[in-house]
Amino acid sequence: MDSLIRTENVTKIYNPRKPDEVRALESATLNIDKGEVVVLKGPSGSGKTTLLSLIGCMGRPTSGRIVVDGRDIAKLPERFLTLIRRRTFGFIFQQFNLIRNVSVLENILLPLYPVDISFADMRLRGEKILEDLNIRDRMNTKVNKLSGGEQQRVAIARALINGPEIIIADEPTAHLDRKLSTDLLRILQDLNVSGKTVVIATHDPFVYDHPFIKRIVEMRDGRIQDIRLT
């Protein structure tokens, strides 16, 4: 398999050389291949969200290299990082991070606003994804009127709207019951089958023990402790 994401001795220090300095990530080296499903597993404060956000071009490492699809993102200017985020990644956040008081359709179309495609094409694309995720009937509902499971589907729809190659999910089952978690994992599995690379940060055994997970990266105190295939 081709290596899609590669981190080399990545360290992330928040507030360096200040009294409240935090070493969130220490010398993390990891390869993620194209089409893989990888879980970053560990307790709170283990550094998995930090690693996930650095892989997703949401921040820059203090030291080390992060190569995504052959590009060293640590050296790229901000606007290129934005382009990579927009084109390469789809994010599913722990708290859904939907814009309140905005309709489902408008929320999922948000990543397309800065892209040069017409309103009509945006709408077509949005309706198709909502159809695939079985929430098309809720298209005009404000997201704050939806259940947790529905909000998670909207967040997934938004993550997929730009046709990303890599899906990044941070504690995606944290606010879902077992049934909704099962549905979510089925959706992620389908996405993986369709060729997407999936990286999940979680400490939920229901996720990392799921049969479709290919590899588990154990993290503790900002360090990668173990990488094992399932």
Binding site: L52, L54, L112, Y113, S118
Partner: protein, 384 residues
């Protein structure tokens, strides 16, 4: 296409916070309305004043007695008209009349012929005794018009009834609004002016460059006179209105500064919800420039809406409601006049200055804190 979509999102974003934005627009528009009212009112008053002066004679010669304006002897007319360079010297009869019925001051003018620069809306100029022409303000205060009669109390405390033969039309409402025009003979009788005296003398001069010289000669010939030039009157009007509007603007500038502080405070104190939203947008692929464009549109929509509403409110206040709130301060003593409607004049330059001083700070105070948030890594949103 991209800009249009961001504008569309900005509008929907504003609608989402409609109550907050409506209250902001209300305060903002009120500030603009007050400032624009002062500007509209002073500019219009100055233009009205300059209209009056178009047909003003080059010199008005008054007689002073104990430092006060007194009636001028008719013999002065002859000596003044003989000064080389003088075109004409015509005695004028006029006076003020306080109408206790309407608590208004009217200006009574006696004429023998037409008044230059003024035309009648309807009717004709007085041609017989006890006839008069009135301004619109007098007509509305006394609820009379052409064909009606107008009863006034003369200086002997006797009622005199005039037949109204016409009402005035003029580009300058302030000029004719409080006017009652009658024959000179009627006016002399009405005020019981002594024979051989006029209120003042209107002098025209062939060469405008000689006005000051001739004024000096008149003072030499008649040391008890005060020749007033057209430019002196213009300067007085300018000084009065500029001073008054300056006072008003100083007061309302405080309001503007207070508003700017409020806007700055609001903008710099960007809410957690807005910060979070910016973080989400950045995380899902919006560039810093896209966020700034979004905030720019939001700021522009709010500030231009407020600006236009403020201007419209000021226009209605000044030109339709007669500047009810500001006129006691700006017009000063003239509040005793019958209410008059200002002819709308707007100085585009002033509008641009006002727009620059109000729209720019608001837009800047909206964009800068958003920029500060937008340039930080969107990573924080992952942790919220």
């Amino acid at each position: 296409m991209r800009h249009l979509k961001i504008l569309e999102y900005a509008l929907s974003s504003l609608l989402r916070r409609k109550y907050r934005n409506i209250s902001l627009i209300a305060v903002y528009a009120l500030t603009i309305a007050i400032l624009a009212s002062v500007l509209f009112l002073t500019y219009s008053l100055k233009l009205e004043a300059s209209h009056i002066l178009i047909d003003t004679p080059d010199l008005i010669v008054q007689r002073l007695s104990a430092g006060r304006h007194d009636l001028i002897p008719m013999e002065y007319v002859k000596t003044i008209s003989e000064i080389p360079g003088v075109g004409s010297a015509v005695p004028r009869y006029w006076g003020y009349y306080y109408d206790s019925l309407s608590h208004s001051n009217y200006t009574l003018i006696g004429i023998d012929g037409d008044i230059p620069g003024l035309s009648l809306l309807e009717g004709r100029m007085p041609s017989a005794p006890r006839e008069c022409v009135i301004g619109a303000g007098v007509g509305s205060m006394r609820i009379v018009g052409t064909g009606d009669t107008l009863a006034l109390i003369n200086s002997m405390n006797t009622g005199v009834v005039f037949h109204i033969t016409g009402t005035f039309r003029s580009v300058s409402n302030i000029l004719t609004n409080d006017l009652i025009v009658m024959s000179s003979k009627d006016l002399v009788q009405f005020f019981d002016l002594p024979a051989g005296r006029a209120t003042d003398i209107a002098v025209t001069i062939h060469n405008p460059n000689e006005v000051a010289t001739i004024a000096g000669k008149i003072r030499t010939a008649h040391s008890d006179t005060r020749p007033i030039t057209k430019s002196e009157i213009l300067r007085t009007y300018d000084a009065v209105f500029n001073w008054r509007s300056g006072i008003m603007l100083t007061i309302f500038s405080s309001a503007l500064i207070a508003f700017c502080i409020l806007a700055w405070d609001k903008a710099t104190g960007i809410s957690a919800e807005e910060k979070h939203e910016i973080g989400i947008l950045k995380a899902i692929g919006w560039d810093t420039a896209d966020i700034l464009e979004l905030k720019f549109w939001e700021g522009i929509v709010i500030s231009l809406t407020s600006f236009l509403l403020g201007l419209i409110a000021a226009y209605i206040h000044v030109f339709f409601l007669n500047a009810t709130i500001l006129s006691p301060v700006i017009k000063g003593w003239s509040v005793l006049f019958p209410a008059f409607r200002l002819t709308p004049y707007i100085d585009i330059y002033q509008i641009f200055v006002l727009a620059f001083l109000t729209v720019t700070p608001y837009v800047a105070s909206t964009i800068i804190p958003s920029w500060k948030t937008a340039i930080t890594d969107p990573e924080n949103v992952m942790r919220s």
